[in-house]
Each structure stands twice: as C-alpha cells, then as structure tokens.
C-alpha cells in the first residue's frame, strides 16, 4: 500500500489539491490548524466572491463538503505539523496532536495572514470604532446584518475605502501589491451601494489594479452603474471631530488638500505572509523568499516546487493570490506531485 500525500492547510488550494488527488485514487491527509476546513473565505466569513458573485459559504463550502466524505481524504483539524523528516516517497510527519503520518510528499497550502491594521495607527484602526477592515465589512454582509457603523449600529451615509493598507508600503516593510484588494474593494463598494442606495462610497487609491477582466466588471461597473467615486489620494491620517471620522489627505490628480467627514472608514487590508511561515520553513526545511512567503524553486519546468524535493507549495503561501488561482494551483500542484512520484512516461 502506498503512503498518502500530506496537505498542509484546508483552504481553497488545499481543498483543490485533495480533490484532485482523491479523484485519481491517491490518498491524502489534510492537516488544518483551525478546527474547521475552508480557509480564509470560510474562517473569515467572506461574503460574495470575485468573480462569480457566489457566496463563499456555498462556493468554498461545496469544496469542503466534497472532500469531507471522500474515503481517500483523511482530515486532521486543530493540528499542526511539528516535524517532517525523510526523503521524497518516504517522509514521516509528527503532528501536535501526537499522531504520526507516513507520507510520500507534502503540499504546503498554508495561505496568508490578513494584515493587521493596528500597524498603521495613523489611519485610526483600533482608535475609532467606525474604522473597520474589508474583512469586517465582508462579515457584516455575509452575516445578513448589513453594513452598519460598529459604534452605534447606524446606517452609514458616507463610507471611505482606503486602498493599499498593508500593501506597497515600504515604511512598514510590505512592499508587495496584495493584488486582490482593489477588486474586492470595488466589489464591496457595489454591495454597500446596493444595500444602502443613499450611502456615498468613495475609494481612495494610489493606483487601481483591478487587473485583467476585472477592469470592466468591477472598476467600471462600480462607477457607471453604482456611482462609486474613485479619488487618487494617499490619506495622511484619519481622525475624528467627536461626531464624524475626518479623513485628511491630498487629492494628487488636482493637487488639492482635502479634509472630508465620513461615517465609516474601511481599510482594504493586504495579504501578509502567514505568521507561521518562519516555523513552517524550519519544520519543513524550505526556503522563504525575501518578503517571507514560501519560495518557489522552479517557475517554468514544474509546478509548485519548493527548495526541498518532495515538498510542494500552492496558493497564497507563495504570495498574494486570488481564490480561483489558488484553486488552480492546488489542482496543478496535485498533478505535479503525482508526476514527481512516478515518471509514467518511462513505464509506458
């Protein structure tokens, strides 16, 4: 009997990899540190996903259900890997819950950690209740409670979304673009306008990166159909006059300083490397790239190889990634793992 593949993390990438492996009859074990599967879209309570508009609990929930009852997929929740020794085809992993897994290979689908806005104190998060993050707004929508100011539960009449919070910011050591926040923010802006048609939504940006096909569907649709306003300004600070939040900055397209009152300010938070990455790197004996994401060793000849043979990586563990690309990488890396275990071309 062959050994299973260890999949670290039960988010979109891990769920996709598990499904792919199980479909071809290969056993795998998902090791998830939280007590349920689904990753960020489920654990952080995302609302409607880009680009399909399906609810996260349906779309990713479906992926969870698909592997949960699959005989080829073992699931260890509430567990982490404490050691990982051996060679390709013959690894032994020890888990925090005491169990041991003999594995032929491992796929790290450990994802990312949401940027903690407390690290940008000038933008008011942690100081003012009505300064929230995109994740919190997702939760307001997915919970069915609607978008409300946390301080007193009122419907906001003016909402400012600040982009690049924890992204493209050398001052706090986050030089990368988190890739999805622009699109997610325009999606949220439309959701807010749909629920609260009298609420004005402003997006403060330095560049808009609704890349690829998102340009029409999110950037332009949010402006043309939903009248969301995009203002090119880097915000200097978010304060309060005791009644409203006050957003200060400079509108760089017209070179004018602005001081504007808002009911709610939303931080479009970026994707940090998973806080566990230094530990993971040590446990699995792999390299991280300069920003702290998992380094991909072979970009063109193979899929998802790390610096250690037999240990693979997929999804946002390698850097900011969309949900659908994470899923694609999960599937692709499952294939790469299979072909690394046996070169079928030689036995044909």
């Amino acid at each position: 009997m062959t050994k299973p593949i260890l999949i670290l993390g039960g988010g979109p990438a891990g769920l996709a990899a598990a499904h792919s492996l199980a479909t071809v009859g290969k056993k795998c074990v998902i090791v998830e540190k939280e007590d349920k599967l689904g990753g960020a879209p489920i654990l952080s309570g995302y609302a409607k996903l880009v680009p399909t508009g399906e609810w996260a609990k349906d779309a990713i929930g479906g992926m969870v259900a698909r592997v949960t009852d699959n005989a080829h997929v073992g699931i260890e929740t509430g567990a982490t890997v404490t050691s990982f020794d051996g060679n390709p085809g013959d690894f032994t992993a020890e888990l925090s819950n005491g169990s041991k897994i003999e594995a032929e290979a491992a796929i790290l689908c450990s994802g990312f950690t949401h940027f903690d806005s407390v690290n940008k104190p000038e933008w008011g998060f942690g100081t003012y209740e009505d300064v929230v993050t995109t994740t919190q707004v997702e939760q307001m929508i997915s919970s069915g409670n609607g978008v409300r100011c946390p301080s007193d539960g009122r419907k906001p009449e003016r909402v400012a979304i600040l982009l690049c919070v924890g992204s493209r910011d050398r001052q706090i050591g986050r030089e990368w673009c988190s890739k999805i926040c622009c699109t997610v923010s325009s999606n949220l802006a439309m959701e807010i306008r749909e629920e609260l048609p009298d609420c004005h939504v402003y997006i403060y940006y330095m560049d808009i990166r609704t890349f690829g096909l998102y340009e029409t569907k999110y950037y332009w649709r949010s402006q043309e159909e939903f009248k969301v306003k995009y203002i090119k300004a880097r915000i200097a600070e978010v304060t309060s006059d005791g009644d409203k939040l006050i957003v200060k900055g400079e509108d760089t397209l017209v070179k004018r300083p602005i001081t504007i009152p808002f009911d709610m300010v939303v931080h479009a938070i970026g994707m940090d490397p998973n806080v566990d990455n230094p530990t993971l790197a040590q446990t699995f004996g792999i390299d991280l790239e300069e920003n702290g994401f998992v380094d991909v060793a072979n970009r063109y000849g193979a899929m998802g190889e790390t610096s250690r043979p037999g240990v693979f990586v997929a999804g946002a563990a390698t850097g900011p990634e969309t949900i659908d690309d994470s899923i694609a990488q999960g599937h692709g890396t499952a294939m790469a793992v299979l072909s690394s275990l046996k070169d079928f071309s030689k036995s044909a």
């Binding site: 043309e224 509108d251 017209v254 070179k255 004018r256 300083p257």
Partner: protein, 255 residues
C-alpha cells in the same frame, strides 16, 4: 499655471504680521509666515449628475483621467490654466468650489473638437466643456455669454417664423449683448453693397425686414419644437435643482 507647477498653498492663504506676539513669542515678519486652512471640506455629490443632465455632458462618467483631452487642447497651448482633464475630475468628484475658481475661463473652449477625437473613452470633452459653461450660466455663476444670447435670438426666431432673417437676428443679438449696431465692419459692408448696387438683393432684404415672412403652416411644427424644448428645460431645471436655488435666493433677500 500647469498643475504640476501649482503650489499647494495659494498666495491668499499666506499670512504675515508686522507685529504679533503669541504667548510671549514674537512671531512678526516674513520668517513667521502663517498658512491659513486650505482644504476642500466637502464634495457636492450631485455635481456629476448635474453636468450630465445638460447636452454634451452625458458621457462624463466614463473619464479615466488619461489627460489626452488636455494634451490635444488648442486653448491649453496658449493658456495652461485651461485644463479639461482637471475640470472633468473636479466635476466627477464633486469639488464644486474648486471648479468655480475657474469659472471665468471655462467658456474659452473653441470647440475645435481635437479632444473629442483624442479621447479613448468617448467622453466627448468638448461637449462637457459646453455643458459646464451652460451649467455656470444656469446656476448664475457667470452672466449669459454672447453665444447663449445668440442661441436664444436664433431659436426664438425659428420658433416664431420658421425662417431666419439675418438682419433681425443681428439687430437683436447686438441689442441683447449691448453692442453697437453700427460696427465698423458692418458700415464697411453696407458701403460696399451700395457701391455694387445689387438692386434685387437689397429689395428682397428690405422686404424681408418689413414683412417678416413665415413658413406656411408653421404653427404645428413650432408647437412640437417648443414642447420638446420645454420638456428638456424642465428636466434640466430639476437636475440642477434650480427651483430650490431660486427659493433660497428669495429667502436670502427676504432675510
């Protein structure tokens, strides 16, 4: 002044004092220059809808601020303050007070339409400039321009007679814009006409001036046009909240 050379601080916001002591500290003179608050403090949320309710402004929401219009602009070449890209942005974002700072140059658009052909998003900037100039007039920020007077004289006459009688158009246009009828070029033109003595033409002109001929059966067509114009005007007045503006003005006067 081109935007990139513009200072964030307007000269009128700088303050120096010849003799000022605050908490025992002497802050007189140039070395203690103060800067007054210099911010846009609110957006007019409806400004974009107001402009797009006027003919020519309909596509303003498409602008992505590439600046092709300003680069192509004939007037911008001679007057760097004439910047369609900038005004379109102010309108879209609702920065009305900033827009009003330029109210006396927006009408300068010469309608060459170079911007119209340069625009990658079919915003129709020339139309937006026209709509903005009209907006300024309708809101009472600028007086009626000569071209608005001309349009009105022209339209009134068409509606009334179905024809254009040039000398009447001219007379009324000059009267309404408070210009002398006997412009030097007109005196010259009349002189030359008399020299050449085109009897037939002068007779026709004279008769037309006296009789003011009408297109036969014009009343129905005229009524239809008038109805359409009234309809459009009412829509525009609603979009621009002109009734409320008049009401506020009345109250202000009463107070």
């Amino acid at each position: 002044m081109p935007i990139h050379e513009k200072s964030l601080i307007r000269p009128e916001n700088l303050e120096t004092h010849d003799n000022l002591v605050i908490d025992g500290v002497d802050v007189s003179g140039h070395w203690s220059t103060f800067i007054k608050t210099r911010v846009v403090s609110d957006y007019n949320e409806t400004l974009q809808e107001e402009i797009s309710a006027l003919p020519g402004g309909e596509e303003i929401h498409r602008c992505w601020q590439c600046g092709s219009c300003t680069n192509a602009c004939t007037v911008n070449e001679v007057n760097p303050d004439f910047n369609p890209r900038y005004w379109i942005y102010l309108i879209r974002m609702g920065m009305e007070s900033e827009l009003l700072r330029d109210k006396d140059i927006i009408w300068q658009c010469v309608s060459c339409n170079k911007c119209t052909y340069a625009c990658p998003r079919d915003v129709f900037p020339e139309g937006v400039m026209k709509a903005t100039a009209h907006w300024l007039e309708r809101k009472g920020h600028t007086p009626k321009s000569p071209s608005t007077h001309f349009d009105e004289v022209f339209t009134e006459q068409v509606l009334k007679t179905g024809k254009i009688e040039e000398s009447r158009t001219m007379r009324r246009f000059f009267a309404r814009t408070k210009q002398k009828l006997l412009q030097p070029w007109m005196i010259e033109m009349v002189k030359q006409m008399i020299n050449g003595l085109p009897v037939g033409m002068l007779t026709r002109m004279g008769l037309a001036t006296l009789i003011a001929p009408r297109t036969s059966d014009w009343s129905k067509a005229s009524a239809a046009m008038q109805e359409y114009i009234d309809e459009q005007h009412e829509k525009q007045e609603q979009a621009l909240s002109l009734a409320e503006l008049v009401e506020t003005a009345k109250n202000d006067v009463a107070a």
